[in-house]
């Protein structure tokens, strides 16, 4: 049985996907429920530093486009359904980043906790958000997709229509820039925590 494995480990069986392709509303809801978290998180991270309602708008727009294009999606094709959905979300977010007028003056809250709380982890989260927001858009997209959504280089290259070498070089530059920023702003928090990868 073909199954679509989501990052969180849940499985969307191929029967549900095929029902969704035929326009079954329950299958649509199942698909949205399965992918709303990674889609929303991806857009939120890519739009770090922008107003929150745009994230929700883009998450909606992503699923609208997914459902409209779903009948033509080839389940046996080279792209996984999850990668395909995240590609749509990424492109919408990057298009949004190219619009100059919606940048906010204040940083978005990190998670449910605010950065002005005096905990070290919250300060780190705020520093990461600020550091990623300062990255150039191409580097930001590569870093978020790799570090937070665990996509491999080939998938990232396909999603962003780049060659593999470009993905690797952009990722390297993004990592160095973010590390330098964090070491400059929250050196204690960086040294004090041993976690390597983000939990997704």
């Amino acid at each position: 049985m073909i199954a679509v494995m989501a990052r969180g480990g849940e499985v969307l069986d191929d029967l549900t996907v095929r029902r969704a392709q035929r326009g079954d509303e329950q299958a649509w809801r199942a698909l949205i429920a399965r992918f709303e978290q990674p889609v929303h998180a991806l857009i939120w991270r890519l739009l770090a530093g922008r107003v929150r309602h745009r994230v929700e708008d883009l998450a909606q727009e992503t699923f609208v486009r997914v459902l409209r294009a779903l009948p033509a999606f080839d389940l046996a094709g080279p792209a996984a359904l999850s990668t395909w959905i995240l590609t749509i979300a990424t492109r919408l977010a990057l298009n949004e980043l190219r619009r100059p007028e919606t940048r906010t003056l204040e940083a978005e809250p990190a998670g449910t906790e605010r950065a002005d709380h005096a905990t070290e982890r919250q300060r780190l989260a705020a520093a990461i958000a600020a550091g990623i927001a300062e990255l150039p858009e191409p580097q930001r997209a590569v870093l978020v997709l790799r570090e937070y959504h665990d996509l491999d280089y080939a998938d990232i290259a396909s999603m962003l229509e780049l060659d593999l070498g470009t993905v690797k070089s952009r990722l390297a530059r993004a990592r160095r820039a973010l590390r330098d920023r964090l070491l400059a702003t929250v050196p204690d928090a960086v040294r004090g925590l041993g976690g390597r990868h983000a939990s997704r």
Partner: protein, 388 residues
């Protein structure tokens, strides 16, 4: 690259977590997917709405009118003209009416509505005239006294020309072609033919000869021999006409080859041994030319044969690409009349017919001054006359 991969080692990137997705995302998405296209309600009493309906109706009526006019214009035959000379069999579609040209035929046509005027200057053309068309063939050109008029008919028209009035103007040789005889064979439909001011209706199956100076003559009245049964069938069975004509043409060519061979044998015949009775010179032998190939019994035939007509027919066949038939026709004429011009033509026809034996015999009868050109002509056909 390893150093870059480790650049974020020790940093808890998971500290930066997004908020939970907004509740009701699925509902919002499905609402957007299913939201109907906003359509303003139409109040039939609204004057603007009624005006829109009137405008729409007018536009539809105008479009229908334009379409009807365009359809009518496209359906009606256009007025046009054209000209075609066939080096090989050629089919012309002239808005419903068709013309099949044999090799050598030449036609110029002009259409004015349903009236199609064709100037068939030479060669054989099979015409199929559409029911709504009227075809007028004037072989002699505009103002000619010989015309054929057909409507919804199928017929074959053969125009034979005389090549005459050869004149030298400076370095240019002008040859005026005049129509000798027009033959119309009707397969079906109504056909009228006019010559010398007299008009006759040609019934299906009949063949009529038209000459400028004589009224139309039924081929059955003028032909000395009755047509073979196959010809009668051909005249009445339209579907088989073309096949029978092809067979007839092949038979003609075969007869031509045999006749040419017979003529060659006759010409090659050695003079009888000298004796007391045969010491006198032959009566019809020219100094530079051998004896006429035709024995005495043919003299009566020669009296009946129109030599010039055979020569003309040979020229027509040659120009139409039927070299063997041309040689056959010229051999007929050569049996009754011999001169340098005819031997030259015979040599040329024989070369074109790829008959080297006849070609060599004919070239031998031609003065030396004319031979190089004929030898060269034969060489173009792959025949080396000079080779023993």
């Amino acid at each position: 690259m390893q150093a870059d991969d480790d650049a974020l080692a020790g940093i808890d990137l998971a500290a930066w977590q997004p908020p939970a997705p907004p509740a009701g995302l699925a509902d919002a998405v499905l609402a957007r997917i299913r939201e109907p296209v906003a359509v303003a309600p139409v109040d039939p009493r609204d004057p603007a709405s009624r005006r829109a309906w009137w405008i729409a109706g007018t536009v539809i009526a105008a479009a229908a009118t334009v379409a009807l006019v365009a359809w009518t214009a496209l359906r009606a035959p256009r007025s046009d003209r054209g000209e075609a000379g066939a080096s090989r069999a050629l089919h012309l579609a002239l808005d419903g009416t068709t013309a099949d040209l044999d090799p050598g035929a030449r036609v110029r046509w002009e259409r004015d509505g349903h009236r199609l005027t064709a100037h068939q200057s030479r060669g054989t053309v099979r015409w199929t005239v559409a029911d709504e068309d009227t075809l007028v063939i004037d072989p002699g050109g505009p103002g000619a006294t010989t015309t054929i008029e057909a409507a919804g008919a199928s017929l074959r028209v053969e125009v034979q020309v005389n090549l005459s009035d050869v004149r030298m103007l400076g370095m240019t040789t002008l040859t005026a072609a005049t129509v000798a005889v027009v033959t119309a064979a009707v397969y079906q439909g109504q056909v009228k033919a006019t010559s010398a001011g007299q008009t006759v209706a040609i019934a299906p199956g009949a063949t009529v000869d038209l000459r400028t100076s004589a009224p139309p003559q039924d081929r059955a009245e003028t032909a000395p021999d009755p047509p073979p049964p196959t010809l009668a069938v051909a005249a009445t069975a339209t579907a088989d006409v073309k096949q029978l004509e092809d067979r007839l043409r092949a038979a003609d060519e075969k007869i031509a080859a045999l006749t040419a061979d017979l003529a060659a044998r006759t010409v090659r015949r050695d003079p009888p041994p000298a004796s007391a009775e045969n010491t006198r010179p032959p009566q019809r032998t020219a100094p530079n030319h051998p004896a006429a190939p035709t024995p005495d019994p043919t003299e009566a035939t020669c009296a009946r044969i129109d030599v010039e007509e055979w020569i003309t027919r040979a020229a027509n066949q040659y120009s139409a690409g039927y070299a063997k038939a041309a040689l056959f026709a010229l051999t007929k004429a050569l049996a009754c009349k011999q001169d340098v011009r005819m031997y030259r033509m015979a040599a040329m026809y024989a070369c074109a017919a790829r008959d080297p034996a006849t070609a060599k015999q004919m070239i031998d009868k031609v003065p030396a001054a004319f031979r190089p050109a004929l030898v060269q002509r034969c060489q173009t056909e792959g025949i080396d006359i000079l080779r023993p």
